[in-house]
Symmetry: C2
Subunit: 339 residues, 2 copies
DNA sequence: CTGAAAGCGCTAACAG
DNA sequence: CTGTTAGCGCTTTCAG
């Protein structure tokens, strides 16, 4: 077994063919005679040769690397999605270079620059917003990008989300059907499209029912801030139901309600979340929530990205995937509610 | 703004210098006069030039890419570690190429081969075991590897873990001090060194106290299997305390105990986990557990890996980091237990 | 189908 | 310090 990097040239010599013949044998699209293939494969195995994908990328202009920007992994939805995304891309012969975009605002722009340095074939930006000229740079560089779980006003940008407006609406309808009148909302980070759309859908349904929002506070998608928001909201004239912008916060809200404020869920107050992360189904929470279909969202993301890679002239695509309301025990179930 | 890939040559022409001058300006170690640097930077900015790191990698032999193999992300410990690891490496100028090693056994070997194809400068293998000849291939390729949260018999392999033996022991001592006599153990996947060491430490302490293990079952680090193990273990002659090989399973065990078997924790049965993941501290679980210090584990992993990259002749290093017992409410607290 | 030859974009001696 | 000259390992025309 060789102790240094084996090159195609060495394989060529051992196989008694030209270096380009070796290249062809290892290049999916290329043609070589059975005989050549055989000789080359044998020599390659003997030397332990494997093509250098970086060199290949330099000359071909295709790296088969996808850059993934992700802001945080503490919201369970993201590790789940990341795992699925990586697997899906691996299956199609791509690999994922991961970049954490720390909370810093400007940071994200420099992160994308770094990604571009790797000649990635595409970029997936999960739950982050980019400055509009950044999208410009990517387009200029000919690198397609798709937003995952976040939309952007820029209509030239492809994006995959769940149907957040419809989801927010479903939450409201369930609460209203349950007879709740004093309904509160705990918002996520207000810069997020997901937050905005969920709230908009929720409010639209309340408005149609002629119910005013009883209370509103902001949790910024952060555990501690959701707890504080809960305390403030229940300090006086508490609501009898709350819709929380995602499960990650909803869990914190439930804990605060039960263990700090000694309220019963759902007897004293109904709670609905958004995402349907794994914890939501654990009996300790048993959280009623709107499911974000991670599988389909990932599949769409991959589809869009790869088709843009293969046909660059293709236009942007925005997909909103509908997710069902998952009825569990954290919110009062309306009489005769059809399952 | 250019609409195609800008090369160093174009920058050179615009700046009126040679192409190598441009290269030097963008190469950390190299030297260039103030004047040249200025001219080049200006031209580069004007054209939107950034060096192609792949081409650089091909010629320099250093990709500044670290391959990360990870088996699953549903155990919360891993996303946390992944995030910290990525950040730590990013800070030191490295980037992470991520590979999911599906459950398949042979799979992992082929995954490592793929990683090697990218000329990575190093590999971090999180919670996976490799065939011994795989480590050979990496060494032959001159690519250092360190195991994260898993040790291997092969003494030539660097590894970072918590002190699992000591941790298991601490769990036992706490339970024994609490006066428990019928103590059970729910094991993780028995191929994992973490599982083996935790159990060994746990058993050693029981033996010293002349207490026999009351019951043992296997949960394989999987939620559903942990639930089944719990059901079996409590079907008849149930224990009054259980040590569970990690938090991920311990949560499932607690849920099963409380909601399925209607047992109170810790009144009827004490539960101790291992990891101290975020959920463990949530009031709904309030799980007593052994902390794995993810920050320090990651820091050590990065240190070892980078020093091996910089000085390849350096020997393997194995680090076991001690983690404290975090006393919460899921296990009876012995009288006068020193906090 | 095959080999020779020309590069991909960049770094790294090497003289000056 | 700078430009010239070789490559890195590979893909891709181009004749044959």
């Amino acid at each position: 077994m060789a102790t240094h990097k084996v090159t195609s040239l060495e394989v060529a010599r051992l196989a008694g063919v030209s270096q380009s013949a070796v290249s062809r044998v290892f290049t999916p699209g290329a043609s070589a005679s059975k005989k050549t293939v055989e000789k080359v494969r044998k020599a390659a195995k003997e030397l332990g040769y494997r093509p250098n994908v970086l060199a290949r990328a330099v000359v071909s202009g295709k790296s088969r690397i996808i850059g993934l920007v992700v802001a945080y992994l503490n919201n369970q939805f993201y590790p789940e999605a990341l795992e699925k995304l990586t697997n899906a891309l691996q299956e199609r012969g791509y690999h994922v270079l991961i970049f954490m975009a720390s909370q810093q605002a400007g940071n994200i722009d420099s992160v994308v620059e770094e990604i571009l340095d790797f000649q990635v074939d595409g970029i997936v930006a999960a739950s982050v917003a980019l400055s509009s000229d950044l999208s410009g740079r990517c387009r200029a560089a000919g690198v397609p990008m798709v937003l995952f779980n976040r939309a952007q006003d820029d209509p030239a940008m492809s994006a995959v989300t769940s149907d957040n407006f419809a989801g927010g609406r479903k939450a409201a309808e369930f609460l209203l059907a349950g007879g709740h009148k004093k309904i509160g909302y705990i918002a996520g980070w207000e810069g997020a499209s997901t937050q905005r759309d969920r709230e908009a859908g929720f409010m639209a349904a309340l408005r149609e029912a002629d119910i005013e929002l009883h209370a509103r506070d902001v949790g910024n998608f952060v555990t501690e801030q959701a707890q504080e928001a809960t305390r403030r909201m229940f300090a006086n004239d508490p609501p009898d139901a709350v819709f929380v912008a995602n499960d990650h916060m909803a869990i914190a809200v439930m804990d605060t309600l039960r263990f700090e404020l000694s309220l019963n869920v759902p007897q004293d107050v109904s709670v609905i979340g958004y995402d349907d992360v794994t914890v939501a189904s654990w009996p300790a929470y048993n959280l009623t929530t709107i499911r974000q279909p991670a599988n389909r969202m990932v599949a769409e993301t991959v589809d869009i990205l790869l088709s843009k890679i293969e046909e660059p002239e293709i236009g942007p695509r925005r997909v909103e995937i509908d997710g069902p309301l998952i009825v569990r025990g954290s919110a009062r179930i309306p009489e005769g509610w059809k399952t």
